[in-house]
């Protein structure tokens, strides 16, 4: 149960804009909600142009020198799925308890860390990260432990470039996870939110329609939740069928020297701080708001 935010530029061919700085502001204004961990995922399609055949497998490795610190490691792997090399690497990593696997990245850059968003910026300089859209998350743990593997955003190793941040609780997590695990999907954390990413991937592999994937999830999932999901072509905000958690969207037409963008967050204050206070509306319960590129 946390603070989430997302942002997408209206002109998505402007990948040189530091979207990380905007996300940082939005996250900081919601910091009061949660202080356990912070994380962001930013999408920039320039990253992928040069290497179509490879993508990165990202994971966090416990630092051998400093206790409680984690190093981000990105390993290049081939896109021909499933390559043996990749399967072996992942199984080796998932057995290593010093490692928390983040996911596969092509256009996406995902970083997460324990502590405040300030600490995250100090470590990864998120304010300078450029891209067309991105999401951010601040966590206050409800059930699973406070460690990097349970920090958001969540991604998967099944499909590159999907990230999910979630506020609330998927109460039938254990049932959904069992179903998906039975189908053969890997899970790397104990956090209920991971099931959203895996569920969406399962749906996307089946029919490729993000709207339908969200609708299916709303129908199958139980509990109070709002989540923001980002793929390389979309950014969406989804609320549960009873609308028990908050989730709002606003538009900045280009004020304060920013390019025009849409922003979404848990608290109104996060929209205000970046000037996204036009066409502000709450997502309807059980509905998704989707922006596509």
């Amino acid at each position: 149960m946390c603070g989430i935010c997302g942002i997408i530029l209206k002109d998505h061919n402007n990948p040189n804009f530091s979207i990380g700085a905007l996300l940082y502001q939005m996250m900081e204004s919601q910091q009061v909600r949660a202080q356990d961990s912070a994380g962001i995922a930013i999408f920039n399609n320039i990253n992928s142009h040069n290497n179509d055949l490879f993508y990165n497998l990202a994971y966090l490795m416990e630092s051998p020198t400093e206790i409680g610190e984690y190093d981000l490691i990105e390993k290049k792997v081939s896109t021909t799925i499933p390559s043996n090399e990749q399967v072996q690497l992942i199984s080796r990593l998932s057995e290593d308890n010093r490692v928390s696997i983040i996911g596969c990245e092509k256009e996406m850059k995902l970083v997460k860390n324990l502590g405040l968003v300030k600490d995250l910026d100090k470590k990864y300089n998120i304010k300078s990260m450029k891209g067309s859209h991105g999401i951010g998350h601040l966590r206050i743990a409800t059930s699973s432990k406070v460690d990097p593997s349970n920090a958001h955003p969540f991604s998967t190793t099944v499909m590159p470039d999907i990230a999910v941040v979630h506020n609330g609780e998927i109460s039938n997590y254990s049932k959904l996870r069992n179903l998906l695990e039975n189908k053969g999907y890997p899970f790397y954390s104990n956090c209920d939110s991971e099931v959203i990413a895996v569920f969406l991937v399962d749906q996307l592999l089946k029919h490729g329609d993000i709207q339908r994937a969200h609708d299916e999830f709303i129908q199958k999932a139980d509990g109070p939740f709002t989540y923001i999901a980002a793929t390389n072509h979309s950014l969406s905000l989804i609320r549960d069928k009873f609308g028990t958690r908050k989730g709002i969207v606003g538009y900045n037409p280009g004020k304060n020297g920013y390019p025009a963008f849409w922003a979404m967050a848990t608290d109104l204050s996060a929209l205000d701080i970046v000037g996204a206070n036009e066409y502000v509306k709450a997502a309807s319960p059980g509905k998704s708001i989707i922006f596509t590129i």
Partner: protein, 385 residues
């Protein structure tokens, strides 16, 4: 807590309240002495030793007055064209008991009334022909009498006896578009795959019959549910579950047991005993009256429906079928072993605890323990408990 324990507790507190001076013996010691004296073995009822984790802060509960709690379930897999939708996870199961004619009539009237007045569709398994019904009838058939005109019900129920049953299922599957439920015996692990391949829409496990057979002698109904569910999951490993239902029948005569078995993997419960009790409830009324008995059954079912909505809501679910074994805890080792339920306070099953202790032992001694040996150790420790 039996009434005798209550008296012990009460008398002990009253002693204190009347004198205000220290007692000779505490409640716990007194209870212990009492049990020793009367040689009461600490027998634990497996059903009662299971409780569920309610929703509090880490998961907010739902409120049946504010949110809609779903109890409806659709029976029928992909290949089944005319699916049957029940409003509650209950099917009245005949349990091979010969029911008296008037009781049966009252039951039919009650189920009709529930469907019409209360919009509550329950299923009924019976081999009789039921005309002008408003509820879903699952007709019990066997090989010999199967003719196309016999399929006048919403669903069919057949018994698995041997390999010929599969052929029979294939035959009726071709002619019948509604859901077909197959009743299994204790040998289910062998044939559940072919059965589902052939097109069964659901399996019925009569836990009383199964636990009477050699393979499940001394085991609890919960063990049967767990095993059948496990076998079904195995069948679906690596593919999409297309909506198979597991119906269990047996001693599920109250909401607590319905909820617990649903959490362990049952989708539908065969229900009967409580209705008989409801039927005979007003003992001062000597002959059961054809007009009042259906009323009582209806009221009983509606109250049960309320409870079945209340419990998932209190556990934080808006859908009854989201209950899972992770929601259950037990206060008995025996239960934990039988049904793989985590023990309260530690959140691990007894088997997991033993496995961890073996790992701990191995790492303390610096022994490499292979999986084979570890499994053998676990078995030894669990059997010589």
């Amino acid at each position: 807590m039996n009434p005798r324990d209550k008296f012990v507790i009460r008398s002990s507190i009253l002693e204190l309240a009347e004198t205000g001076t220290p007692r000779n013996i505490s409640i716990d010691d007194k209870l212990r002495n009492e049990h020793k004296e009367r040689e009461i073995e600490k027998t634990i009822n497996i059903w009662d030793s299971i409780t569920a984790l309610g929703a509090q802060l880490s998961r907010p509960p739902y409120d049946p007055y504010r949110e809609i709690i779903n109890l409806g379930i659709s029976i029928g897999r992909k290949q089944c064209l005319n699916k049957v939708v029940l409003s509650m996870p209950l099917i009245i199961y005949d349990n091979a008991i010969k029911i008296e004619e008037t009781s049966l009539e009252s039951l039919h009237i009650a189920l009709d009334r529930l469907a019409i007045d209360s919009n509550t569709n329950l299923g009924l398994i019976s081999e009789n022909e039921i005309k002008n019904r408003k509820f879903s009838h699952f007709k019990r058939i066997n090989k010999k009498s199967a003719k196309v005109e016999d399929y006048d019900s919403e669903g069919l129920v057949l018994q698995y006896n041997d390999d010929k049953s599969l052929q029979f299922l294939t035959d009726i599957r071709r002619e019948f578009n509604g859901p077909i439920l197959v009743e299994i015996d204790d040998d289910f692990q062998k044939y559940i795959g072919p059965l589902l391949d052939t097109g069964a829409d659901g399996v019925i496990a009569d836990t009383i019959k199964i636990t009477n057979n050699a393979r499940y002698k001394g085991k609890h109904a919960l063990r049967v549910i767990r095993d059948v569910r496990y076998a079904i999951n195995q069948y679906y490993a690596g593919r999409e579950n297309d909506g198979i239902v597991l119906m269990v029948a047996g001693d599920f005569n109250n909401t607590g047991r319905i909820v617990k078995s649903a959490a362990l993997g049952a989708d539908i419960i065969g229900y009967y005993t409580s209705l008989l009790i409801a039927n005979a409830a007003n003992h001062y009324e000597i002959s059961s009256n054809i007009h009042t008995v259906p009323d009582r059954i209806c009221r009983h079912i509606l109250a049960t429906k309320g409870e079945l909505k209340g419990v998932p809501a209190a556990l934080g679910y808006s859908d009854f079928y989201n209950l899972s074994p992770a929601d259950l805890r037990t206060s008995s080792i025996e239960t934990s072993l039988q049904a793989d339920i985590a023990i309260e306070g530690i959140d691990k099953t007894y088997r997991q605890i033993i496995e961890e202790l073996i790992d701990e032992y191995a790492s303390e001694k610096g022994i490499e323990m292979n999986k084979e040996k570890k499994r053998e150790l676990v078995v030894q420790l669990l059997t010589h408990r």
